[in-house]
Amino acid sequence: MAQGLLRFITAGSVDDGKSTLIGRLLYDSKTIFEDQLESIEQASTQRGTDGADLSLLTDGLRAEREQGITIDVAYRYFATPKRKFIIADAPGHIQYTRNMVTGASTADLAIILIDARAGLLEQTHRHSFIAHLLGIKHMVVCVNKMDLVDWDEARYNEIVDLYRSFSSRLDIPDIRFIPISALQGDNVVDRSERMAWYDGPTLLNHLEHVHVAADRNLQDCRFPVQYVVRPQTDAHRDFRGYAGRVAGGVFKVGDKVVALPSGLSSKVTSIAIGEKQVDMAFPPQSVVMTLADDIDLSRGDMLVRENNQPESVQDIDARICWLSEQPMRPGTRFELHHTSREAKAVVKEVVYKLDINTLHRVEDDLQIGMNDIARVRIRTAAPVLADDYRRNRATGSFILVDPGTRLTVAAGVIYA
């Protein structure tokens, strides 16, 4: 059976071979276009590389090519007869962790690369933890550069054991290990003849077949109102429709719904996608709903079912990843963006910060700086309609925006 779209990210420490791997995957699966190949061959010759440097397929910025590192996530699209893929090639450098977080927030699977010579590094830990924090349930650990350790099975096993013991403290249901050489292509698309001791699938084979349970909640009806459609034209004088993307559950015409936070109830009278009327809507569809009653309902509000409602909270227990170069100053007021809702917020308490190498809680130094991951308690000025992130990504996630610089300074997931 054909598998659906797979969104994955490459992660791991700087220079572990992420971009080379993506290049190799595209090249060996014959999904590179001729002019793209010509262009990277030309660029490689110019800089005196032997053959085409495949990392240039994703490292497209001038500064990236100058420094030989990835700075920001590159997205690549490719398809094999078995599956469609969206790849996010993330940077390994610690300075650009927030770009990795950006790419990971929409991924279903993470490939963690480890340089067989170097083993597990701090960024290996950090990226693995971020993937786990963001709810990625599938991980493939590629032990790379096996060519540089003589294709040594013992070294591979050593790294696998180290990673297993690190990751046993994260709850990632599906972890696979594959020994590869991104540079030479071993076990990427084609099976390696130099590592006969490995009898698992190649990376592409695994990616094509891994079953990723759709990250969709079909139980809890959640419809954050995004925009109110009021045509005010002669043909639709009294029309008032609520536009939004279904964040959970299945809504049907005729369903009784409750509007939050007002608590007023009504009935769904129509659901439309563009001009087409449909009888139901489910995630991640973008629709317009109309209701039987003229109730007060606008952007930031949410339609739900009476017997299944999110928590309406002003005190939030959350994990955040700090993304700003400026450390967090205690008592700062932020704007918290959650679904289509915004609320003023303040971090009341830093409960602990995480030591990324040991995964231990640090409770004596609670200064939060760039790339720190912490558990915090946040107080908002208005109620937020929240679910646990593990139950619903869309209604369990938020960002903090600095009202002065207007920058996104933190990514947060709610533990309700």
């Binding site: 002019d35 994703t58 590159a74 927030s105 925009y227 996608i273 995630p283 996104t408």
Partner: protein, 301 residues
């Protein structure tokens, strides 16, 4: 549709509509940059769906190089009429006449580069705080790095080394006065997705996309439409070929491909089998390895 699974195109459509509604909700003066090409036509189609039964609540902005295919302008005007939206034209010729930009000279002269100051002056004149474009990440290596809400400073510049984080689909459209966002609802679409979608939705597109006979010249491995705006080299001989365009830009830079795909089904088949990217035929990208990045930093589409 059983098991509540959406097709790939349905998912992309839902995402695009969501992004467009965020634009309408978050910004005071948004606009859609409309080039007349297939991507901006798709964006406009998504906008129509996103706000139905109301009209699209933002104007279409066309940056007119003056070197257009006549079909493109006709198409634009018909669409604007049908949708009942406002059309704003930023004219490159006017900027040249006012002496604000200088035209390139020579055989490969094009007005591509001076579209950027025209776009910026149009944005400033109308104080747009969000400009929706049809760019896709699969088009080009600098575009592969784009956010959905892409921040521009008060000189309209893109800073690819310091982009804002963008988490989930929580798009932060906050910026300082004078700054704005470029927004790309089609980020995750490929060229093939676009064609499959045009086919599925039966969207009208300019006839230039279908194979037709045209007078062209061959230059540096490209096939260019012969026109009054193209400076011919002494050795260049116009010839007639059966061609179509994979992208539509300024007449002088848009390369054609030899093709007999004269309907949407044939185009889909042709694109699916293509061995070159659509921008492989664009002179503007061929100027250097980082031609697109450099133009984007300056404020290009």
């Amino acid at each position: 549709m059983s098991d509540y699974n959406l097709s790939h195109l349905d998912e992309l459509e839902a995402e695009g509509m969501y992004v467009l509604r965020e634009v309408a909700a978050q910004f005071e003066r948004p606009a859609i940059l409309f080039s007349g090409g297939k991507d901006s036509i798709c964006v406009t189609h998504l906008a129509r769906k996103a706000f139905a039964p109301a009209r699209i609540p933002m104007p279409l902005v066309h940056i007119d190089t003056g070197h257009n295919f006549p079909e493109t302008l006709q198409f634009r005007d018909d669409l604007v009429n049908e949708l009942g939206v406002q059309l704003i034209v930023g004219s490159v010729q006017e900027l040249i006449d006012r002496g604000e930009v200088t035209e390139e000279q020579g055989f490969n002269a094009s007005r591509n580069r001076i579209q950027t100051p025209t776009l910026i002056s149009t944005i400033e004149a109308h104080q747009f705080d969000a400009c929706v474009g049809g760019a896709r990440r699969d088009e080009e290596k600098a575009r592969a790095k784009e956010r959905f809400f892409s921040h521009r400073d008060d000189f309209s510049q893109w800073d690819p080394k310091n982009q804002r984080p963008e988490l989930w689909d929580l798009y932060n459209g906050k910026c300082q006065p004078g700054e704005h966002f470029r927004v790309f609802p089609l980020n995750n679409w490929t060229e093939l997705d676009i064609w499959n979608y045009i086919l599925r939705e039966n969207i009208a597109i300019p006839s230039l996309y279908f194979a037709h006979e045209r007078e062209v010249i061959r230059r540096d491995g490209q096939i260019l439409a012969n026109s009054a705006y193209l400076n011919l080299r002494p050795d260049e001989q116009p010839e007639k070929l059966q061609v179509r365009f994979r992208t539509l830009g300024d007449l002088t830079i848009t390369g054609a491909v030899e093709s007999d795909a004269d309907n949407l089904e044939k185009i889909v088949a042709e694109v699916a089998a293509a061995r070159k990217t659509e921008r492989g035929g664009r002179m503007d990208d061929k100027r250097s390895q980082s031609a697109m990045e450099d133009r984007k930093k300056e404020g290009y589409f």
